[in-house]
């Protein structure tokens, strides 16, 4: 962990950090609340001491309890990757400000996070599904997304997906019944 970067981060972003600056190996990690995303990202991007000009990644995460938005940034002023974790986003109404005012390229990554987790990025002017069809109703990467349940509402109803870990107890009975109905 880059201690000089940690000092700079604490000096510039002190009031926004909800946890001490952490880090391990070549990564430094800060945690902020959803309300301070715009202020923190602008400071990281524009401050001459920080200069985080490259947005390496934007990801949504479901921790099981709440959601996170995770940014990975790169600057020429530090040998570390900077990870900005925005949490907690409420499970029933996850909302976070958009980063598109700084990085236009975050638009599609936010669309992906919306598609997969249902996180609403306020300020993204094109927040619609990107991989799944537009009339799809679920958020596949959420931890409470169970594929068989959802498949029962899809045109492929009845297909048992490989993801289901165990066959139902009455699988053989069901198969026999189906065969007899078919014949």
């Amino acid at each position: 962990m880059d201690t000089s970067l940690r000092r700079r981060l604490e000096a510039r972003l002190g009031e926004h950090l909800v946890a001490p600056v952490a880090g391990r190996g070549d990564e430094t990690e800060i945690r902020i609340a959803a309300g301070s995303v715009a202020a923190v990202l602008s400071t990281l991007h524009d401050d001459p001491d920080l200069r985080f000009r490259v947005l390496a990644d934007l990801a949504g995460v479901d921790t099981g309890a709440h959601f996170q938005v995770v940014y990975h940034l790169w600057s020429d002023g530090s040998p570390d990757w900077l990870r900005v974790i925005v949490e907690p986003l409420a499970r029933d109404d996850p909302r976070a400000p958009s980063a598109t005012f700084l990085w236009k390229g975050a638009e599609w990554m936010e669309r992906e996070a919306y598609d997969m987790f249902g996180i609403v990025f306020e300020g993204n002017r094109d927040l619609r599904r990107i991989y799944m069809p537009p009339d799809y109703t679920s958020f596949p990467l959420r931890k409470d997304f169970h594929l068989p349940d959802d498949a029962s509402r899809s045109p492929a109803a009845g297909v048992r997906h490989m993801e289901r870990p165990h066959a139902p107890a009455d699988a053989t009975v069901a198969a026999r019944t189906r065969r007899s109905v078919g014949s």
Partner: protein
Amino acid sequence: METVSGPADAGRSAPSDDPRVRLEEELTVFASVPPFPPRTERENEFYTLGDGEMLINMGPQHPSTHGVLRVVLKLEGEKVVDLDPVLGYLHRGVEKLCENADYHQTIAYMDPLEYVSSLFCEWPAVMAYEKLHDVTVPRRAEYIRVLSSELLRIASHALFMGWMALDLGGLTPILWSFIERDEIVDMLSALTGQRMLFNYFRIGGVNGDLNHDFLSRLGDWMSRATAQHQANINLLNENEIFVRRMRGLGIIDREAALRMCATGPNLRATGVPFDVRRAHPYSVFPELEFDIPTRQEGDCLARYLVRLDEIKQSVRIIDQCLNEMPDGPVMAKLPRLIRPRPGRAWAAVEGPRGEYGVYAISDGTDQPFRLRIHDPSFIHLQMVGLMMPGHLLADTMAVMASLDPIMGGVDK
């Protein structure tokens, strides 16, 4: 102004007044289908047509979309006003699949993401797991990783050259570049046992040591790599039609490229020397000598020339790897099922298309809790929307080819 009625309006029309049409029930089986969501700001803007404008679908089965990509083009005559790429035709849900596979199994899921340069997708994944599990990779394994992936970078860039020319209507270059690519792919198949989806990197090393077949093919190829590359360069760089067509096409400046999160050759073609191998060194790259080629113009020709220069640098790196390859094991000693400590790790590598990254979260079990895959093709594809307005329809293919997206990586 005329507004195109979208799917949101379909099926919700008022009951017909026509006496010949008798509707017993207004709603049919489609009642169970949830309604389309309201249009976004951008969609409203895009699907509102001005005078003389029309919408045309290109794809999903269009040969020059490099896979299955649908692009809705808004045209005025032959001029592109705006475009809207529609993704998802190749979506396989790799991130969800990886959450249900153990750490070793996920490496196999990485390969088909980027089927032209699959080692670059495996690498950040194994790097992230190694960070999570505190594995030290033997130096010989690191050199083998660099050697094999730089070979693959040459193959990928060679294929790019061919594709680029093919999308502009030239047939010869793709035949030439496939000769070069096939030699490298055969070489790697002697090393890994596979031609395209190698599944070669392992957590803590690589699957097998260098063998005689691979090394003899490599030595044979290295003796004429430079000459063959020069022949390929002469074929296209001195073709006036090609150069004139590419120059000044699809320009993006460095500030816009940074704001679009571009990486790799597409960013370096605008003059930003950002290369993860130097910007955030990993593996044995700090010990190797190579330059980062950049161009200032930011047009299609610059993106093409940057890639040509990178091939030369890759040959240099391979040469150094062969000279400095140490002896020793190629795998760290690890149990067959690893359970990394709970934590998070981000790893990124420089691939032929830009920065590949993996963000892995471990909860202490043998399966990743969350695996985020960052693919540069996905990012670069949205730059097309910035570059295209004002150009002709036929240039769409040229601009898209110059960004070199692979749909397997875009759609994950």
